[in-house]
Amino acid sequence: MHAFEYHRPKTLDEAAAVLARAEDASPVAGGQTLLQTLRQRLAEPSDLVDLRGIPDLYGITREGDSLRIGAMVRHNEVARSREVEQAIPALAGLAGGIGDAQVRNMGTLGGSIANNDPAADYPAGLLGLGATVHTSQRTIPADEFFVDMFETALEPGEIVRSVDFPIPQRASYIKFAQPASRFALVGVMVSQGAGGVRVAVTGAGPAVFRVPDMEQALALDFSADAIRDIRVPADELNDDIHGTPEYRAHLVTVLARRAVEAALNAG
């Protein structure tokens, strides 16, 4: 790990100020990806800004038809939260399957989405549930938040405060794990709610994406059979030792069907 300065701000403003001032600063939330990146010397930030001490970034609250989760809420807190389990059990399930137990005890919602790993689970959760991201500066819909591989709509110095998840009628997230890293080789979030049907896929492509063909078919008929023959094109999907693009494309359909079945069984 290269050397860096370390800051422990107590407020969001203080954090934003440090981030603005430093040459190449990076916020650290849970640090579960960042620290490994630094250990492998794949990144060299001049400063780390630890968001742990900022009280605004915590808490899980239900507000009407929406669930608000603070950026610094750990995956295991979401997984075991009664609020989340009652409102959006699929989200609790998603959080309970991120990384491993130790990672879930440190890793946070804000850290995960700000990193936007193409195989992370939360991006599919946000996109598949039609969530909204509140930052230190503004409000960004999930559809605009995830831009590309490891790239989000966040400006330098902008910090995720919380995420609002509209509570769907039914939803499910099914993940097929890459057998070594246990990240999603393919993960599919399906939801049906006031905003319509959403199908979001992680792991398969360079970044999380929606599958409009499936959404349309499910809007007409929310059943696994309705999407049986809908394939996403393989040509833009990831290719590595754990899965060819064709295999990933196939898994998208298999997992989407299973997610629809699970959502129906749960709801």
Binding site: M1, H2, A3, Q40, R41, F176, P179, A180, S181, L185, I241, H242, G243, T244, Y247, H250, L251, V254
Partner: protein, 795 residues
Amino acid sequence: MATAETGIGKAAKRKEDRRFLTGEGRYTDDIDLPGQVYACFLRSPHAHARINRIDTGPAREAPGVVAVYTGDDLAADGVGGIPCGWQITDVDGQPMKEPAHPALAQGKVRYVGDQVAVVIAESYHQAKDAAERIDVDYDILDAVVSPAEALEEGRPQVHDEAPGNQCYVWELGDGDAVDDAFNRAAHVTRLDLVNQRLAPNAIEPRAAVASYSRGEDQYTLYTTSQNPHVTRLLMSAFVLNLPEHKVRVVAPDVGGGFGSKIFHYAEEAVLTWASRKVGRPIKWTAERVESFMSDAHGRDHVTHAELAMDDSGKFLGMRVNTKANLGAYLSTFAPSVPTILYGTLLAGQYTTPAIHCRVTGVFTNTAPVDAYRGAGRPEATYVVERLVSAAAREMGMDQAEIRRRNFIPRDAFPYQTPVALTYDVGDYDATLTEAMRMADVDGFEARRKEAQARGKYRGIGYSTYIEACGLAPSNIAGALGARAGLFEAGEVRLHPTGKVTVFTGSHSHGQGHETTFAQIVASRLGVPYEDVDVVHGDTDRIAFGMGTYGSRSLAVGGSAIMKALDKVIDKGRKIAAHMLEAAEQDIEYDDGTYRVAGTDKEISMGEIAFSAYVPHNYPLEQLEPGLDENAFYDPTNFTYPAGSHICEVEVDPDTGKVEVVNFTAVDDFGNVINPMIVEGQVHGGLAQGIGQALLEQCIYDPDSGQLVTGTYMDYIMPRADDLPSFRVGTQNTPCTHNPLGVKGCGEAGTIGSPPAVIDAIIDALSPLGVRHLDMPATPVRVWQAIQDAQGSRAA
């Protein structure tokens, strides 16, 4: 008196556990010496490149740097290359090609991870920071990573001394007899098999701490080794040219080895040499990425194999042609693994009368390949059992029936195979029968139907394996090319108070020798188990040792201790005769007590020990005082553990994911000292065998030679939820030629299990037309196999 819980055959709880459970274990990286500095090795980022120039200037100027060395510095001090401990003789009588293996690169790098320079600094961070500032000017050359391609015309040449990248061609068996068998055959089964490359992945990375005392002119090396004496011998005599007695090598607690810590590695020699140069102790601990790149890998065979049968399924002959990847350099025992430990096992449990094996050892631009748990024997078992299972399918025979028809019968031992070995004893039918009972083979078809109803394909696979363990009779090993003996040393020291310290040349890195050996010694001497301590892993404390590998510790190391115990007991008998005023031949010994036959006159081992050290009433004119005996044991044969593994899998055809739902292993290990430890060894072996079958593979990019699976993010390690709960049993026939009647159990699980898993998958998917599958059966590969089979059916 060993109590009921700790006697031979009892599941004594382990003596070593407490320190490991409380964080008091002392592994190499836990050792800090006063004034210690840290080493970081700069490794080649290229698979094959010429080094034009290395500029270490900026690194030397970096904060905290104490020294930077390259291959030139080693050469200037006359440091030699890393030696190979085994010489294979080519089929035309020539010795194998044995190119130099410099400890730091000389002029060329030959694999990604090849060590180029070492930086020594006040902290590891500083050493690593400085290593990034070394500027190496490389001319990148084309690389070759696959053994089959490396043998082709026009491929990159790894070593000038080995034209065509060929290290040796080795043959075993009677080719004419095999040709004759194939001419007479009613059926021939043919398979092309890949036994993929694996990374051993002990969870403790390799590490070393070296120091030099000017006052005593003494070097000390703490290292993660399975055999510290061998490391000392190789390093002092062949690399550093130091007097052996001036080098102490200590292998303290070692966090797993699986073969990868047998070998003498360059880092050990460089650190030891540099500790004198800089006058301070130096520590190096591998990062996991370095382990993946630079620990010796295992397996990596490409094989064509054929089995000839008569129309009843009786095996007539076997023909095997293997290309074995040796990597860029010859690691310590590399040449022996795909030859002596492979070709000799091709008879398996069967009476196949004619076998011929041809192995080509190949250099490539990859990490050295050497022994990894099982070493040659898993590769042999995979060939034999895949052939047998495929033959049964092709001939429409039952998997158990084809095996039983060809088993060496129980009354045929000792049995001379056509591939050099003489099996001493075994009962193969017994292990198969018991395994089938435990696996509930009778209920399988019902389970298959039930799975089908859930959309899963269920299959069952068999493997009836044999291994040769307890390495090895030194004279035979020598005739086969070993440059060392393969005996073991043991010493039993009774203290004046009757407490006992045992010194063994075996090394425990998880096997529980401190417990098993103490059980033997306590039982034999009749002293409490708690009063026996076992010392291993230090060349200053133990006379000599060949270390632990090849499931040899109990069969060879334990036998050495038995010999030392015999000497102790014999000496004690003389002392007892004197003290009891009886003739030596009238003294009986049993469980720690000497008795004058037919009388109630007796004396305990504790009293004898006291008398030996306080020799007031003692036969000083005939006998030395003290009770401390040393023995060396050289086995007269290998041991032959064998067994039957039965695997049941369920395959999800939509995702290709395979779940091992049942795994049964029934093994013949000879006598068992501690069944709890034996069972644990089987569990661990099975995890590695199932890991090979389903998950693990080292992949080098075929063009760039980069290691694609360089971290746990891509190399699939078996985790708790990848594995089933195992059903394990034994059906033992005691070994006939060592004093304990033991065979060895450390590698059985890894050797026997892979073909059982793969054949279970093939069995499951045969309704879909799948006939063949290579390891590892990852989801994508299984799914692809189903697609291909369906596609070819449709076509």
